[in-house]
Amino acid sequence: MSTGKLICNDLVKKYGKKEILHGIDLELEPDRIYGLIGRNGAGKTTLLSTLTAQSPVTSGTVTYNGLPVWENQDALDHICFSRELNPLIGWGANSLKVKDYLKAASIFFPHWDKQLAERLVQDFELETKKKICKLSKGMMSMVTIIIALASKADMTFLDEPVAGLDVIARDAFYRELLSEYTETGRTFLISTHIIEEAEDLFEETIFLNDGRILLKESTQALLERAIHISGKAEDVDAATTGLAVYHPEKLGRSKAVTVLLQEGQCIADGYDLSSQPVNLQNLMVALCGPDSQHSVPDSQQNTPDVKTGGRKGR
């Protein structure tokens, strides 16, 4: 197992004049499974491709084990970003047959595990003589999964690996991932929109919102401090005074909010309220949804619980 960390500092990425990533600071440890969560257009794929030197940064630094990753084979030998394959493009990788694409990957990745790749091809019942562009969306995802797992790279990034996969194939992927992880201690960072079923895999979750890191925290700790409170509106307000409150919803006299507690805080006693645990998906809606406007009490304005990323504004 490698001990190298992947670190980026004040990473900014612009496409033309449009700034996509606004000063990202991130540190990825060895032997972890990270979840990367964010809305469409939040910058997830851009972040993954700049972290893995598939796309140049506009400013800022990205290093692996202290070495810059850009055009640096010593660092890139340990990094794999298995890109999502796009069915609409008929050229490039997509014009290759599956077996030739895998062959290319086996040359590209120095630690390629041929046996693992072959076994996964069989398990997923992939037709390797087909051209990539002729595959269904789910089969394309299988190809990206095989490349990610068989690359044996210490830092492996998967972008939407389960998109289009049926539930049985998704389950198979989660188990393959865990068995590879428990055997090797490689780090995996996985972006996904199917949050509900993947959240238990993530030791840490990274929320990316509008080109900024909103949160990076142990999934367990994060969920333990998130609570959904509902009841009579004035009771909800009274019990949550002074707390960080997100995503208020009102219906008549009833109100519900999502609360993120800070250490030592709790919901005030003495009110007839329902409090329920929040899963990662609920939390994502509460923090990143259109009605996520939140009230953080004055006393916390200087030390907000939610990181707004390195730089504010543009």
């Binding site: 499974i33 389950d171 989660y174 188990r175 865990l178 068995s179 992880y181 428990t182 079923e197 238990d200 895999l201 993530f202 030791e203 999934t219 367990q220 969920l223 333990e224 007839d272 329920q276 645990p277 899963n279």
Partner: protein
Amino acid sequence: MNEYLSQEKSIYLQIAEMLENDILRDVLLEEERVPSTNELAKLYAINPATAAKGINLLVDTGVLYKKRGIGMFVASGAKEAIRMRRRNGFFDSYLSSVLEEARRLNISRSELISMIGDNYERGTKES
């Protein structure tokens, strides 16, 4: 083991609880090895760190102990210890919510007691 995980409670607590349930119903016997962290992780498709947290909880309470290089084992006396601890927590875990609902419905103390008395002997609780 093999119960479904729910969203209502932290996963590691559920892992600990399921292992305890299996000890109570003799699926896991005292002085027997319990599934490893990695086995649990794969079975439930959860992060091994979460599974380890559940197991460590049971080590802390003395239900499991570690045999170096072999794995985790059920301590002797674990079954009775679990039963005692759950008895002690019975009010907070179960009765307090019953009382809360009873008060909300204006069910009096004597009504509640007679309801329990009438139904205690019947295995099933019908209204």
